[in-house]
């Protein structure tokens, strides 16, 4: 009996032993798509590239400086660059601490591996493709790698330059550690990868959304401008504790030459696009001298898929891939079902950059007459009646029209006498104070609290939020709420136009109110447009001229600058340049930078600009620098019931959003656990 069982066991055991040795069972699982399938034709490649594109570090409608990539919640571009403020945003970006998807340091390497994998494996499948297809795919891999390295370099400085496929799990993880390179080596790698992408990519994208030669040229010019600026302006440097490598900043001995090289590359890339003639500024509705047409033209350009200005867009389509830009940034008056609104309130500092506004000698907006009393306007829009059309395409003013509705923006109603003019409102106990020590909100002013000169006759009526109003009976008997439908309401409710302005750029003018929802908007984000190319060319040319370098392609640098700025200003309806000399020297560079802030606000570009210029911490802003903590200003419309006129109060915005950054925060910290667990990854020096 027993021996029979033993016999059975032996037979069974032999069976199992045999099976495990059979090679013919070692086949790839048929239910999983493998590389051989993907790399067999363009359909397979589309899958591979789709996965890469879904991880691309695009700063689009799913990016915010606070929460970084791949997060479409509270996307309010502009709120960290000084162009605007929002209830949930409005401080200098100093870290990635809010990024729900983690620091980009960690995310980057997944996509990097996909790109390196493509570069290493695709050559064995070359026979499956035409030369043109094959080269394009190789170009896509280099483009992807360049984008990843660029996104990392502008955040961290020197990074681990993983340029080959790490053999994991075949090799032990400890053998695969790659230390951080120097910042200079990193930018050189970015340059090399963009150049390889440009050399291999097709002239036109084979599929909408893919890169092409000009997309790569565009991003190359942007990245090289960044590199050149850092080499020139950065003052933060140091050596890694573990490796002794200069992981941030440039060696003083090589910085100047490196900066010239990068500016020259930025210039060449941008000028190649300009000379190709493939793109032009959007002017479909533009008409000389017609401000209304110029304004409408600049609104339409963000929604016209056939715009000749678009070099590269990130497209969205509900329900597969949508975003919530309209929901978060819609004027409060037109709020959608999710209850968000006005996340993006432009600052007066941004508005004052533009032409066509009456200004004081110091460049601030003129709201007082020569006697120090408020200028009175018949309509709230009158103060911006002659404003540059581009400003109106960026910003919704009080009383302007959006989606067919007049935008009701009013901080309060002034019921006091207008005989002899209305004196500035920010007065507490008889003392006028427009400094940071003055009243934070209008609730504290004498006119509201009925003290000082207003003792016994309260003359200012406000709304504390969208539902609690002080109601004024006007001389004609009608009743009016203190605050407008869009506020502002002081600090108690910041989902209103709390700087006195609302954003217009990117807001879909045709989206029905019931669709103003999170994850419902589907307008494209323009990642790269021709206007930026012109500005890149102008800035690089200016920097090269300042460095005393010869023109890299023989074109007259002054002429390139002049043409670029002239064309942009003409399209924008701004004041034209007085002459070529206006762009000369250091002063000319400032003119070009200012143009950039006006043209590219709210497009996730300006924050990186002020960081690469290294002016974010040091620029004087309303009496303070951001290294000491600085504040922006607002413009508050008031209605005088006695005179039936409007006046505006300019001063620190009521929320007192404080922007603070220290110089070393131009480089983000490397995530602590990444430093701890690796024997070679260095933290930023000094931190």
């Amino acid at each position: 009996m027993k021996s029979k069982y033993y016999f059975l066991y032996i037979i069974l055991g032999l069976c199992f032993a045999n099976i495990s040795c059979k090679k013919y069972l070692d086949v790839p699982p048929v239910n999983i798509v493998n590389e051989g399938d993907l790399f067999s034709n363009s359909k397979g490649m589309q899958l591979y590239l789709s996965r890469m594109y879904s991880q691309m570090p695009f700063e689009d409608f799913k990016y915010s400086p606070a929460r970084q990539f791949f997060d479409d919640w509270l996307v309010t571009p502009g709120t960290n660059e000084g162009s605007s403020l929002g209830r949930d945003a409005g401080e200098a970006m100093t870290s990635e601490g809010w990024a729900r998807n983690g620091a980009y340091w960690v995310r980057a390497f997944n996509l990097l591996r996909d790109a390196n994998n493509l570069l290493e494996k695709l050559p064995s499948y070359k026979a499956n493709f035409s030369d043109e297809e094959y080269n394009h795919y190789i170009g896509e891999a280099y483009f992807t790698r360049a984008m990843v390295f660029y996104a990392l370099a502008k955040r961290y400085g020197g990074i681990p330059l993983v340029t080959s496929l790490l053999q994991y799990p075949e090799k032990d993880a400890a053998q695969l550690e790659v230390p951080r390179a120097t910042e200079e080596e990193t930018w050189d790698q970015v340059l090399a990868d963009y150049d390889m992408a440009i050399a291999n990519l097709n002239e036109a994208s084979p599929v909408k959304g893919y890169a092409n030669k000009y997309v790569a040229l565009g991003f190359k010019s942007e990245a090289m401008l960044f590199a050149g600026s850092v080499a020139k302006y950065n003052r933060i440097t140091g050596f890694g504790q573990k490796t002794g490598v200069r992981v941030i900043g440039f060696d003083p001995a090589t910085a100047t030459a490196a900066s010239k090289k990068y500016f020259s590359e930025a210039y060449k890339a941008a000028n190649t696009i300009i000379k190709s003639g493939k793109y032009s500024l959007y002017k479909k509705k533009w008409s000389a001298g017609d401000k209304e047409a110029q304004y409408q033209n600049m609104v339409d350009m963000f929604f016209d898929a056939s715009s000749p200005e678009n070099i590269y867009t990130k497209d969205y389509k509900w329900p597969d891939l949508a975003h919530g830009y309209d929901s978060y940034n819609i004027p409060r008056q037109l709020m959608g079902g999710n209850g968000y609104s006005a996340g993006n309130c432009p600052t007066l500092d941004f508005v004052e950059l533009f032409d066509g506004i009456a200004k004081n000698p110091d460049g601030t907006i003129k709201v007082l007459d020569n006697n120090g009393k408020y200028l009175l306007f018949d309509k709230p829009t009158d103060i911006f009646a002659d404003a540059e059309p581009r400003l109106r395409a960026n910003v919704i003013f009080a009383g302007d029209v959006f989606k067919g509705a007049v935008m009701d923006v009013r901080r309060g109603i002034y019921t006091g006498s207008v005989a002899g003019g209305i004196a500035p409102l920010r007065v507490v106990n008889g003392a006028t104070n427009y400094t940071i020590g003055g009243p934070q909100t209008y609730n504290q002013t004498d006119a509201y609290t009925a003290t000082g000169a207003f003792a016994g006759h309260k003359s200012l009526f406000l709304s504390q939020n969208g539902t609690t109003h002080e109601v004024v009976t006007l001389p004609d008997g009608t009743k009016m709420n203190g605050g407008g439908l869009n506020g502002p309401f002081g600090t108690s409710d910041l989902t209103a136009a709390f700087t006195g302005f609302m954003v217009r750029k990117w807001l879909d003018p045709n989206l029905p109110q019931e669709l103003v929802l999170e994850g419902r908007s589907e307008q494209s984000f323009i990642l790269m447009r021709y206007a930026e190319i012109l500005l890149n060319a102008a800035e690089a040319a200016s920097e090269l001229a300042l460095a005393g370098a010869a023109s890299p392609d023989g074109d007259d640098l002054q002429q390139v600058m002049y043409d670029a700025i002239t064309n942009i200003r003409e399209r924008a309806g701004a004041d034209p340049l007085t002459g070529m000399s206006e762009l000369a020297g250091e002063q000319g560079l400032q003119v070009i930078r200012r143009e950039r802030r006006k043209e590219l606000g709210f497009e996730n570009k300006i924050l990186w600009d002020i960081r690469r210029w290294r002016t974010q911490h040091s620029d004087m802003l309303n009496g303070f620098t951001q290294s000491d903590g600085a504040y922006y200003r607002g413009l508050y419309p008031f209605y005088s019931s006695v005179a039936d006129k409007w006046f505006f109060d300019a001063g620190f915005e009521e929320a007192r959003k404080r922007f603070r950054i220290t110089e070393q925060e131009y480089y983000f910290m490397i995530p602590g656990d990444e430093v701890t667990k690796s024997p070679v990854i260095d933290q930023q020096p000094g931190r």
Binding site: T237, F239, G437, E663, P685, R687
Partner: protein, 264 residues
């Protein structure tokens, strides 16, 4: 029956916690002062990342590369950390004084005056450093109409020659490093007044372009606060000044001692 089942289940669930963390809690103390090598006076500082930073690295921990354990000096120039693991450490300080660890542009160490020591029980340390600037009050502050006026004298704690001898080998030297860029009269409602704790309604910042401060060195500078401090308040004031040179990538201020001022 059910109770037994529950007991068994909870035993299984809880068994994961059975291994207790028996690593002794940190109980050693590192304390000390940062003093001016020339006078022996403590080097006064801000409290926070723009003040004097103490950086410890535990060398006896070998399971991974030593991590930086940072804490900051108190405003009087003294420091104390009572939760230190027993072990062998390297300790350095960085502040508004000549760096005690100096490296050249290749990253090679020129001078290393950091201290490497065993920390056990209460270990005391004294760092002798050369502060860039010294600030002293002259007379007592006066108050008029809610404004405080104080006089301060700023002198160099290290001579320009000595500064150049020590900083130049680090590379990229510029004579501009020695320029005093700003003098501030910080005002706050708490005694920990300084760069990280100041009331920007009252604080006065005076900027000095280029080397324009040179003539004011050793001379009394009278500074008045901004705005109007409401009467009945108590504020603390402190003067600070810095030169155009960053240690560990931060341009740090030197300070004098905080004074209490009651606004009548």
């Amino acid at each position: 029956m059910k109770t037994i089942l529950y007991n068994i289940i909870s035993l299984i669930i809880l068994s994961g916690c059975a291994k207790i963390d028996n690593y002794a809690e940190p109980g050693e103390t590192l304390k000390g002062t940062v003093v001016d090598a020339a006078t022996g006076d403590p080097v006064l500082t801000d409290q926070g990342s723009e003040g004097t930073r103490i950086r410890m690295r535990e060398l006896s921990w070998t399971a991974s590369a030593p991590e930086n354990l940072d804490f900051f000096c108190m405003k009087e120039g003294i420091f104390q950390n009572t939760k230190v693991f027993k072990g062998h450490y390297n300790v350095r300080v960085d502040g508004a004084f000549i760096p005690i660890v100096r490296v050249d542009t290749n990253g090679d160490t020129l001078v290393d005056e950091s201290k490497t020591l065993d920390i056990s029980g209460v270990t005391e340390l004294e760092f002798k450093v050369q502060p860039f600037l010294k600030l002293e009050w002259q007379g007592t502050p006066t108050v008029e109409n809610g404004k405080v006026t104080a006089t301060v004298v700023v002198t160099r704690g290290v001579s320009p020659e000595d500064f150049k001898t020590k900083i130049e080998p680090m590379g990229n030297y510029s004579d501009d490093f020695l320029n005093v860029t700003d003098v501030r009269l910080f005002v706050s409602q708490v005694p920990y007044v300084g760069y990280r704790e100041w009331d920007n309604r009252y604080t006065t910042i005076i900027e000095y372009p280029g080397d324009s401060f040179e003539a004011h060195l050793g001379e009394p500078i009278t500074i008045t606060t901004q705005g109007t401090i409401p009467s009945g308040r108590t504020v603390f004031i402190r003067a600070a000044a810095r030169i155009n040179y960053a240690t560990e990538n931060i341009k740090r201020h030197n300070y004098n001692e905080a004074l209490r001022v009651d606004i009548p």
